[in-house]
């Protein structure tokens, strides 16, 4: 529903703007003791932008309340919420495990999980892609581009590679 979306979008944007004005700027911007004039303050420019954002967010919310708009047709699956929630769970585990598992093993597992979740069931295809792609990228970045890739728990195995 576009109208609902506009309402929530406006509300979210307005609240983000307010949070920046009243929380992020006072606590997150270190102002020097002596400033020649207001416009040179590190908080001046973010403040202007945040005020504009809050105002625009408010206008979007008000318009959504006052002017009904036709709803949009969605092309989502019936179980979309569950499926997307699973994606977010995998992404969260992926992000949290990279430091420990390294940038080779974590992508292998995540790649396998994402392909399976997408509906691929050929185990050999999934295994081949899940192993070949991260290892190929590891070799490219480590050996050709000279960028050290964190190997995590696989460090003893990949030391000589």
């Amino acid at each position: 529903m576009t109208q609902n979306k506009n309402f929530w979008a406006g509300l979210a944007l307005g609240l983000i703007g307010l949070a920046i004005i009243f929380i992020a700027i006072p606590f997150g911007v270190d102002e020097p003791k002596k400033i020649k004039f207001a416009a040179l303050s590190p908080a001046y420019y973010p403040q202007i932008v945040a005020i504009a954002m809050t105002f625009l967010g408010g206008v979007i919310t008000l318009r959504a309340v006052m002017r009904p708009i036709k709803s949009n047709t969605e092309t989502e699956r019936p179980d979309a919420v569950v499926r997307i929630s699973i994606v977010f769970v995998i992404l969260a585990i992926y992000a949290l495990s990279i430091t420990y598992l390294g940038l080779v093993l974590a992508p292998v597992i995540a790649l396998f999980a994402f392909m399976f979740h997408a509906g691929e069931r050929r185990i050999w295809v999934m295994a081949f892609i899940a192993i070949a792609v991260p290892f190929g990228l590891f070799l490219f970045f480590q050996k050709i581009a000279g960028i050290p890739i964190p190997t995590g728990v696989l460090a003893p195995l990949l030391k000589g590679v």
Binding site: W8, I20, L91, A95
Partner: protein
Amino acid sequence: MWDTIQSAFFIFATWDNAFVLGLGVIIGTFVGAVPGMTTPMAVALTLPFTFTMAPVTGILLLLGVYKGGIYGGSITAILINAPGTPAASCTVLDGYPLAKKGEARRVLDIALYASCIADLISNLSLILFAGMLAGLALAFGSPEVFTLIMFSLTIIAGVSGDQLLKGLCSACMGLLLATVGLDLIYGTNRFVFGEVQLMSGFTFIPVLIGLFAVPEIIAYYGRAETSREHNPLAGKGATWTDLHSCLKTIVRGSFIGVILGAIPGIGGAPAAFLSYAEAKRTSPNGDKFGTGEIEGVAAAESGNNGVAGATLIPLLALGIPGDIITAIILGAFMIHGLRPGPLLFQENLSLIYALFMGIMLSSLFLLIVGKFSIRIISKIADIPHKLLFPVVLTLCVFGAYAVNNTIFDVCVMFAMGAVGFAMLKLEIPPAPFLIAFILGPLLEDNFRQSLLLSKGSYGIFFSSGICWFFWGLTILVICLTIVRAVKVKTVELG
């Protein structure tokens, strides 16, 4: 004069030069196409190999990598919605929607033609107008750049479609995100909250990938499978008619790139956006921009490639590097005992002419390498999504990591992916966010530098003809946007 050209030809016309130039274009195209591997990174990695080469050979290798890299950045932008370089971020807007319709090969072809033509025009401008453009570039101080960026930001109205208010809010978010890091003037923290990694601000590539590629991948898992509509252009390359219809846009975009490229510190991204904005305003298909319009791709690519030759103007004519890449190339000149600037034109004119010959040849190499690679690369779009999207995500993770060698950037990419997905669901256009995030630092830096120069007087923003020119254009565009919106409303009501 003739003797100089003759001796320049003998310096240039060697197999070594032709080989390294071609190799440089191939390396640049490949590296540019990997998200996270930026063109400056590729040029920097190539620099040590030039130490033992002849000066012209070494510099041509770096120039080949530079030119290939700028084109290569557009490949992933078109195919997987992940721009390889910030300059290619504008190409995403129309390139990816066209690739999704099955027209990957056609759009890659147009991107290549636009890149090559813009590169050629940029090279010719370097050769013919270096002195004049260097003079114009010197007239651009902080207030002039500020007004130029203000004008560039008017494109936000264009890319927001029928969601202008949300587009403006999206731009505000981009501007705010760009303020994270150390303050330019006082060196104090802004929105750092004790996180050391945030002191240098957010890096472009993880934010761009997170905002465009990741939400598309997440959304795929919730989308109902639909059979792809039959598209007669699927799998086909660009035709002469396609190129002809975009030619005016390409030439205009090239000159925008040339002028902006000659100004130190501007870069390819603003040129691409400005070229795109002009094309959208003047094209009869302007309303279709952002939904998959081939002219939009041509405009973006000609804008960012038009910069390539022109960035060498302040370097060669004045000895001023305009960006990171030309700074590295300046380093290469100095390693070989050469100091770019007016003296170089007096003492080593034949070397300069030899470089010009190589630069001209690089456009041809770009066309050959690009044409050859498109046949293979365009097949990527045909890979089933259930395999392609997970692989793209892996590529994005490595790309985000490789920019600064830090896991923090990978987390930034994931976080931006979640933000991008929320924006997708709430129908907040991401393009204004992207434009504002890229142009934001330039806008704020020049705004505050100008005020520092004028001791707080806002009159500095009206102090020169260039400032007035860009203010005039900005007001004109805003008025035209309002008039157009009123017209649309009148038609809807009546």
